[in-house]
């Protein structure tokens, strides 16, 4: 009985729906990301990645055909191999996204920046 209840609970949990990946609009070659994406740029400005020169292109590619709106965990592996392996082992071997816990742009832990909800 207990087992059935737990299975029900699991199946009843809301499934998160990710936004569909889409391409970037055409922009002039010299236009900077921050011109349109002010809030993301501001969040990034105050984070660890900014002072290390980890720019938008690292996670998102260019604005051409290799643009990625929502990068997956393997984007982080080049510098954070150990952490990626850790997430794979402890959370789920195929988990896609570091940004379940980390704010995408300021890269702090989400809970801390939002203070809860």
């Amino acid at each position: 009985m207990k087992r059935l209840f737990i299975i029900f609970l699991i199946l009843a949990l809301p499934i998160m729906v990710a936004a569909k990946e889409k391409g970037h609009i055409k922009t002039p070659e010299t236009q900077e990301c921050a011109e349109c994406h002010k809030s993301q740029a501001e969040a990034w400005q105050n984070g660890k990645h900014e002072v290390m020169g980890v720019k938008c292109i690292v996670c998102h590619g260019s604005t051409e055909k290799n643009f990625i709106a929502k990068p997956d965990i393997y984007k982080c592996r080049a510098c954070h191999g150990e952490k990626v392996r850790d997430v794979e082992k402890k959370l789920h071997p195929k988990l896609k996204n570091c940004f379940l816990c980390h704010d995408a742009h300021s890269v702090t832990l989400r809970f801390h920046t939002k203070g809860g909800e």
Binding site: K55, V58, Y74
Partner: protein, 773 residues
Amino acid sequence: MEISRRQLLKYSAAIAAASAIGLELPLPKELEAANIDADKWVKTVCRYCGAGCGVYVGVTKGKVVAVKGDKDNWNKGFLCIKGYYLPPILYAADRAKYPLLKKDGKFVRISWKEAMDLMTEKFADSIKKHGVNSVAFYGSGQAYTEESYVMNKLFKGGLGTNNIDGNPRLCMASAAVGYVSSFGKDEPMGAYDDIYHADCFFIIGSNMAECHPVIFRIVNERKQKNKDVKIIMADPRKTLSARIADLHMSFTPGTDLAIVNAMAHVIVKENLYNKNFVDKHTVFKKLVDPGPPLKVGKVSWDEYVKFLDEYTPEMAEKISKCPKEDIIKAARWFAQSKATMSLWTMGLNQRTRGVWANNLVHNLHLLTGQICRPGATPFSLTGQPNACGGVRDTGLLSHLLPYGRLVANDKDREEIENFWGVPKGRIYSKPGPTAVDIFRMFNKGDIKALWVACTNPGQSLPNLAPYRKGMESKDTFLVVSETYHPTRTSELADLVLPAALWAEKDGTYGQSERRYQYLEKAVEPPTEARPDLDVMLEFAHNLFAKLGRVDEAKKLFNFKNSEDVWNEIRQCSKGTAYDFMGMTRARMKKAHGIQWPAPTEDHPGTVRRYTAKYGDILVKKFDPAASDVSFYGAKADSNKATIWLRPHKGPAEPTDAEYPFALTTGRQIEHWHTGTMTLKVPELKRSAPNAYVEINPNDAQKLGIKSRDKVKLTSRRGSIVLEAKVVDVPREGLVFVPMHYPDELINNLTTDAYDALSKQPEFKICAVKIEKA
């Protein structure tokens, strides 16, 4: 995707609950990552800067598909955005595929046999008709150590000419001559490890955040973890690096010698120097006659103090416009911190007084005893991945022989002649022409055949236009070994040889902190591209056959592979201050770099030189009487370092009424050198697509210039039209242009005036005027 804390907790609970009852909860498809793990990971080093980050490349089906930082190397797995995007450089559409010969202005494909036969004929003919000094080689701090060693042996030991130099002449020569003149031997005595121990950083002429980002990460982390750590940043630009500074010293470009002398003045007058260290470990010298021949003379402490008298903070402020309070503060922090580390790059080196600037920074460390212990060291940051290991140490520069030896020194020549097994007197005793002079001689036709490998002088030489004209001339023969075609150099060549790139060949790199590292071959080169070492050995044998010296070539160039060359190189270092006999190939394959000296296979490598207390085994060997510190490279001065009396001197081309702005060139984090690799990466190109001119807002307002306006910069040598970027980074009177762009040749404007001692050109300062285009 946006998910709330509540959703995450629910999901995590679900996973936990599922595992508790032995159920594997499937992931929603949207959360699943495609595992792009590679078939194998090959240990290597980043292709780019002199930081020398350890890297693994992931290989699948014969292609490099991924990179990850080496967590067991000094960089702890971190990379900068250039290293992050390494794989695409191997697969650029304009890879040089076949040997190409220029016929009637057009490049036609020829076979390797035809290419090598032609090249051999041209060089041999020139040697027979005009002598060995009619041919030359221009190498690179990006070539492998084994490649540079073979070419050095061929030219100096085989042919008996010193017409061989490399592009580190344009970036590190002043630092090299600075170390030699201050300490007797080249190369930093400290290491990146010192960053973890320093309490004060004096960073001058370096935008580390963009030029050595992964090293900067350690400096920043040191500061973040220790709020008492002080960072002094001396730079006429308020760069990204300067944002973490506790003190940003801004000054008129080219006036920093006055500032550093003034810091020494404060240290002496306020009694902040370490008398015991100065007495025990230093001598004082000054230039008596610039010559030639150069004459220097020893002086006393009193004479040095008298020399410093005029360099008051007030005097330095008057010359430099740097507030005297900043100079005094910097001096006190430098002297009084528990451990002070200096870091610098091209702001000091690419100057007509580059050697003097280097000496003056060394002076501060010697005066205060801030040297040869953890956190206290003068550390020159190197630009290229193998300028240290392959060119400075291997002795490729036209005045050097391997491992601390000089062509002008009788004993050194004899030692190397014996080692190489060449006749006594073979090695020419007069230093050869340096980079700029090689191209001047090529222009005049004094050099008739020139081989350029792994570098891009058609974009990177200062005062570029006349040299490009010379390279294009039909009266001389130019061979260019390149990975890509066209580059701004290969387009001028008579013969282009397609070269394997980085992960397509194996060899050794030596980076800024004396760490030699092995780069394993990961994939095959494409089409007909070949490793430079193979081509160089084939050329050496062919050339000597043409000169009737087949047997000699068999003796000199008896190498089957790069490991054979490396074994000879190790032997050549044995017994010298570099001694890395212990770095066998087998060991290097396993290690994450080893710092020389490492004289035996069980020696772990040396983090700090010149100090017995902190592990330099060679102190006991070269200076058995020393209890701890010994500058054993300075035998002629009884193992003491030199404090130099270097007066302030400004740049070769100061600003004036006609050309009222100083132009300085430099880097952006996205790109490296002349952009031949990084501009092929779409992401890096999108982030930094073209050159611009950075203008101070006050200057821009006076000139009526806004960001994105087209602006014309003109120097005495050339002009360029660029988009303006009005930003509070350069100080008033200074403009900055990045150097990376092949279609915007800023070096048409820069000066080829060079340092009298190092022959390094003054890229960092020339005079320009600005007008709206």
